[in-house]
């Protein structure tokens, strides 16, 4: 199968993300990349746990003074929902339903943007309370871990948007299907990392 071929619903394969050698390589390579990303975040988590609540003086806020459940809960829900919408998008991609895929991807992007907005608000709130990147080791570790994740969200949004705009007029092909697929894999990965951040940073932070 050639990647450039014009496809129809009838000729569209069951696994368009793995139907050419290039696509297979991309699929596997991206999984391996996510393996490396896992180690990267694991390292950041370890650093955060080692430096949690490590502040130079008692006037600075600690984790239990800062985090509030409602805000982070809403953020978590936004991101989890965006993972589901991207699953729907890939479902339609596999069925060669380009319009529907674009619709669900659009929803994913909107939810992601909502999450980022909340994160920006949250960070500015913390800075206001004296919890800054430069004020303590705790601050440095917190903003690095959560900020790295936020950076991943932002990059994922740009990526998905670029793919959507670039392919808006030409529909699905075996050349761009794997691109959509790995972008959605990336999005799921970001979501999984957030579940760990929610647990380790926020829930465990609130109990002390």
């Amino acid at each position: 199968m050639h990647a450039e071929e014009k496809m129809t619903y009838e000729t569209w394969p069951a696994e368009p993300e793995k139907s050419t050698l290039e696509a297979k390589n991309k699929f596997l390579g991206f999984w391996l990349f996510l393996g490396g990303e896992t180690v990267l975040f694991a390292t950041l988590f370890a650093t955060y746990l080692a430096l949690k609540d490590k502040v130079p003086n008692t006037s600075q806020p600690l984790a239990k003074d800062l985090f509030e459940l409602p805000l982070t809960f809403v953020a978590t829900m936004l991101l989890l929902t965006s993972s589901i919408t991207s699953v729907y998008a890939m479902y339609h991609m596999k069925n060669f339903a380009f319009k529907k895929m674009m619709l669900w991807l659009g929803l994913t992007v909107l939810l992601g943007l909502g999450f980022l907005g909340l994160e920006v608000y949250e960070f500015s709130h913390y800075v206001h309370e004296g919890h800054k990147f430069t004020s303590s080791a705790f601050g440095s570790a917190f903003y690095s871990l959560v900020g790295f994740h936020g950076g991943h969200v932002a990059f994922g949004l740009c990526w998905i948007l670029t793919l959507m705009i670039r392919n808006s007029k030409r529909g699905l092909s075996l050349y761009n299907a794997p691109k959509f697929y790995v972008a959605s894999l990336y999005w799921h990965f970001i979501d999984v990392v957030w579940v760990f951040i929610f647990t380790v940073v926020y829930l465990m932070g609130m109990v002390g």
Binding site: G29, G36, L40, T43, T47, G139, T162, Y175
Partner: protein, 621 residues
Amino acid sequence: MSTIAQKKGFGATVWDFLTTVDHKKIAILYLIAGGFFFLVGGLEAVFIRIQLAVPNNDFVSAGAFNEIITMHGTTMIFLAAMPLIFAFMNAVMPLQIGARDVAFPFVNALGFWLFFFGGIFLNLSWFLGGAPDAGWTSYASLALHSKGHGIDFYVLGLQISGIGTLIGGINFLVTIINMRAPGMTYMRMPLFTWTTFVASALILFAFPPLTVGLTLMMFDRLFGANFFDVTMGGNTVIWEHLFWIFGHPEVYILILPAFGIFSEIFSIFSRKRLFGYSSMVFATVLIGFLGFMVWAHHMFTTGLGPVANAIFAVATMAIGVPTGIKIFNWLFTMWGGSVKFTVPMYYAFGFIPSFVMGGVTGVMVATAAADYQYHDTYFVVAHFHYVIVGGVVLGILAGVHLWWPKMFGTMLSETLGKVTFWFFFIGFHLTFFIQHFLGLWGMPRRVFTYLPGQGFDTANMVSSIGAAFMSIGVLVMLYNIIMTSVKNVKVGNDPWEDGRTLEWSIPSPPPFYNFKQLPLVRGLDAYWIEKMDGKKGMTPAEPLGDIHMPNGSFIPFMIALGLFIAAFGAMYHVDKEAWALPVLIIGLLVTFGSMFVRSIKDDHGFHIHKEELQDEKGAKA
């Protein structure tokens, strides 16, 4: 295609290499760049040995000495050994598995340019206010207080080149998993391919901790963070952990491919199947696995406590078992074989006793209680030079001689090769053997001079003379390379006559598509099997058809260049230079803009048509 290549002018050749995505050309780029940095690192070593040749020497100042030892270690590990290993992985691995290229040719080129610009950035520190001076391990307690921008050069340069290595590792993994020729099962892969596979997996899991460590250091030094600043709640031991979680696997990333090279050599020149192939594979995987559980043996004196020290000591000694398996398998490969004493075989012979000595001192320093005595002395310096030079560098030199004909189509002189070997081998033992005793007598490492009359004088002089021998060996090799290139006597497919694996079944250097028809692999040592059956070449696994090839691209160069520019902006930003921020932004724009162009511009590659391939065949016959 091949006729066009011959007529190209100098400019066209340069442009060709700047835009190439061909794994064989990228291998040559890695070889040249890695070779260049090897000479730079070697020059730094010579300066160290001149300074230490006599007591109370003032050849270089104390500060300059710190910079030189830091840059010697950093350059040799990251900018010489790694890329030289990568050169062979690129040149040989795709050929050994019967592939037409790597899985991601574009990413392959990007990996090279990132490494290259990272290395150049790091070395520019010499001309821009001073090199890093906190040792190649750059412990945070030293690095945070280092004046000037040396450490920033280290952090940013290694970050850029590290990303290149990481994507290179992923690329090799996918290539080996997805692109093996028909019949090339995992347990028929040549040992060099196996070690490339395991080393790439190590890269995938070991480089992210380094990336994070370097990022934290960058945040601390350039953006006011406090990860390692104890007065702000930070903890400097975090850096030690992150560095060694990367650093220990790194030595296996280097030594495993060298093991692979020697496995090929022992088998080829004993004209015998590798003894205990399956146990060799098993040992390689086991070493890779254990390599992640021993990092704290570099931190026995940090004060992690007796339990941690005991666990890491035992885990470290356990690695001696799979390594021992390998040593015996190599010996048994030669046993009963008809051994041919070629230059690669000289290196292989020299490697075994040298590396075993490094292994024995390795078990000594792994003994946590005894390590309190060895730590930070010349004993440790002797130990790691025995494994790195006695293992990795001998492996690289052997690989250069073994695969030179495959990469360039010409044969290096055997006589000059043997001269190089003897100078280098004798020089190596002369330099480092005595350093074991210097360490036991109490000479600390990383000191810029010592007083006379402490019993260090003669030993240091001997060590420095050894360094001179090694330098002569390297110079002879350079002469050898130049003379071989000038004479330009072309060789055939199988210049050693005893080639066993697929790379020897195709022309030297191979055509840009490697295999006209993918070969059918019928067992381990695929080419040897066909030769023993009286055939001239491999049996094709497919009819002659169109070949799909990737287009060249200048974008990898631009992506790496952007980061190179951005790094200057990030670094001088701290000095409140007005131009720093714009430079940072411009650099990032170049990088992300190039990535954007890459992502929106379709690149389907091109096809070589069946008829062209047939013509070429006709022309040759």
